[in-house]
């Protein structure tokens, strides 16, 4: 099977779906780039190249460059979705949701409920998350937890190229608004990805690694950090069961609960800030529904309650590390009541 990067997998998913369904349009700032200039059209293909080449195949009518105007992009995508298109809108950096959240949070997410089930809003919002590039406080956040709090939105956070392709195709075919979060440091990460289109259902976690001692739940880049920690811990005789939920809304609660029922010990790793987050949500879920199985306190390994710092030294401290994850696992593994 061919090896592909996440960037290639996403591009392939978009291309295959756009060929299948003429109602799919890509819309956003510099999704092609070069409009209204003397230089090259498709100069960017998305700032990190995910939509490169689509305008050549599908033309300006379906690969729509917009001004830098996030409210109008998100609102146009929502309005187009509810009237018969299937837009894939790009919110370049997820941090920019602050500019345009009304159109997502009050409009697109609520149409179906407010209108008594009569509206269908097949909208995908692709957006970049993640720290680690010294992009500082307004270009490095991971606000999927905020998106997850909104009834009506679905939220996808893939950790590898295989999942990225299958989940993006699922998102495009889904009839609800989906926020699709792509970690900006992972676009070149490669794995085996089939050439043909395929889907991965939402709400089905991936058990990345089986283990009997401690359950670790992690998303996006943290899946890989937790995997590194698990390798090191295995040499110490601690077997980690690593779960990647892949979607935070819907969340595969059963897989997490079943694992904790067996291990009795849980560490949650989350690159986002710690308050009212995915980590607290999963901790609450387990405390509520698997309390009797717990042999140790639940530990959360997260970013601190701070903005993302610029300078690499501090940014490295901000992001949960494999060492911090391993330390948390050791702690809950060694805990005795």
């Amino acid at each position: 099977m061919p090896q592909k990067s996440i960037r290639q997998a996403l591009n392939e998913a978009l291309r295959q779906e756009m060929r299948r369904d003429p109602r799919i349009v890509v819309i956003g700032e510099d999704v092609a780039g070069g409009a209204g200039s003397e230089g090259q059209r498709d100069a960017y293909g998305g700032v990190l190249g995910v939509t490169k080449g689509l305008i050549g195949e599908f033309g300006e009518a379906r690969v729509i460059d917009t001004p830098i105007t996030e409210s109008a992009i998100m609102g146009a995508a929502a309005g187009a979705a509810v009237t018969g298109l299937r837009p894939v809108a790009e919110l370049m950096f997820s941090d920019f949701f602050g500019v345009c959240f009304d159109q997502i949070f009050n409009q697109a997410a609520k149409f179906r409920y407010m209108f008594g089930g009569k509206a269908t809003t097949p909208l995908v919002i692709r957006t970049m998350i993640g720290a680690g590039r010294s992009a500082a406080a307004q270009h490095s956040q991971s606000p999927y937890g905020i998106f997850t709090t909104v009834p009506g939105l679905k939220c996808v956070v893939p950790s590898n190229a295989y999942d990225a392709k299958g989940l993006l195709i699922q998102a495009i075919r889904d009839d609800d608004p989906v926020i699709f979060c792509e970690h900006k440091l992972m676009y070149d990460l490669r794995c085996e990805v089939p050439d043909e289109p395929y889907t991965i259902p939402f709400g089905e976690a991936n058990i990345v690694r089986d283990g009997e001692d401690v359950t670790v739940v992690a998303l996006a880049r943290m899946v890989h950090f937790a995997g590194e920690a698990a390798e090191a811990l295995a040499k110490e005789g601690i077997e980690v069961e690593l779960i990647d939920p892949r979607t935070t809304s819907p969340l595969d609660e059963d897989t997490i609960l079943e694992s904790v029922e067996r291990t009795g010990r849980l560490v949650i790793v989350d690159e986002a800030t710690p308050r009212c987050s995915i980590a607290t949500d999963i901790a609450a879920l387990v405390a509520d529904r698997a309390f009797d199985a717990l042999k140790a306190p639940i530990r959360r390994v997260t970013a601190p309650h701070t903005p993302v710092p610029f300078t690499p030294t501090l940014e490295k401290l901000y992001i949960p590390s494999p060492d911090r994850i391993a330390a948390a696992v050791r702690e809950v593994h060694g805990y005795r009541k």
Binding site: T83, L85, Q103, G152, P250
Partner: protein, 325 residues
């Protein structure tokens, strides 16, 4: 289009639609005061010529987006009045199953994309609806109703610019009723000229007298035809007035002495219409009276139905969040 060029059916249709809106709103005010309608209602009485003059040029497949003051737009676009009244009463048979209420009343089958609780919420959505029409090449147009209050929102500016950039079949109607909630237009609009702003975004714009149905109807014809024939978006500023407060129950302390009395006497678009067609002998007095009776019966039926209708079942709380779970 001058009054003389409209058919009798069109004239009667316009009168029926404007009268339906007026009587609907008067009755909603009455029912709200009695406590039959929960929440908030924002009444459109006084502005009827705008919604009807505009929507007469639209078919069911054309789209509109509306505001918190959305009952008039809904009726003008063809939404079922009995279903609307049930929605306001929060009943299961309402247009939105009682889950939207006055501020979110919508009927996608009639091309009505919803009233909107967010001032400036609608303009970007209309950009999207117009994008659908352009992409599918189906010849439909999208019309955004917003107010003088909404004219100051950033979403509105973004939508105007995007509509020009993408050359979309859209019309933006700014219903200037002189108040954003309780703050006067002369204070809240820096330039004092909404239509004048449009030029800066590259849209042609006209100002029309909202007391005059025929003026609105004519401007709307031009704007809709321009959009439909690929001529791009445009703006209409309608100089209008509201007979009630921002919301039903508003004490309206910001109004001048006798302001509403004056508006009702001098600026009633419905009375102007009736006088105009009567003076020109375009419609008979008896025909107009027959429409009045017909509308009164419809509103009575809507209220009686809404009063008798069942509430949504408790199970409705959890449904319709997602299409698939």
């Amino acid at each position: 289009m001058p009054a003389m060029q409209m058919s009798r059916e069109e004239l009667l249709g316009a009168y029926r639609s404007m009268t339906t809106i007026r009587r609907f709103e008067e009755r909603v005010q009455e029912e709200f005061s009695k406590g039959s309608i929960p929440g908030f209602v924002h009444l459109y009485a006084g502005e009827e010529a705008s919604a009807v003059g505009m929507c007469m040029h639209l078919g069911p497949k054309d789209y509109i987006a509306s505001t918190h003051r959305g009952h008039g737009h809904s009726i003008a676009k063809g939404c079922d009045v009995v279903g609307m009244m049930q929605e306001l009463f929060g009943k299961a048979g309402g247009l939105c199953g009682g889950k939207g209420g006055s501020m979110h009343i919508a009927d996608l089958n009639e091309g009505m994309l919803g009233a909107n609780g967010i001032v400036g919420g609608g303009p970007p959505l209309v950009v999207g609806a117009a994008l659908t029409a352009k992409t599918l090449g189906n010849g439909h147009v999208a019309v955004c109703f917003t107010g003088d209050g909404g004219s100051n929102q950033g979403t509105t500016f973004e939508a105007l610019n995007m509509a020009v950039v993408l050359k979309l079949p859209a019309v933006f109607v700014f219903e200037n009723n002189q108040y954003g909630e309780g703050t006067g237009f002369s204070y809240h609009c820096g330039s004092g000229d909404i239509a004048g702003r449009a030029g800066g975004f590259g849209l042609p714009a006209v100002k029309v007298n909202g007391d005059d149905f025929f003026a609105v109807h004519e401007a709307a014809y031009d704007a809709v035809e321009r959009a439909r024939s690929g001529g791009g978006p445009s703006v209409i500023e309608v100089d209008t007035c509201r007979f009630y407060g921002h919301h039903s129950g508003d004490a309206q302390l910001y109004r001048g002495k006798d302001e509403v009395k004056h508006l009702r006497e001098e600026r009633d678009c419905l009375q102007h219409f009736r006088r105009r067609v009567s003076d020109a002998a375009l419609l008979e007095e008896a025909e107009l009276n027959a429409v009045d009776s017909e509308v009164a019966a419809l509103i009575d039926r809507a209220v009686a139905t809404a009063q008798a209708a069942p509430l949504p079942p408790e199970s409705a709380l959890l449904t319709d969040v997602y299409k698939s779970y």
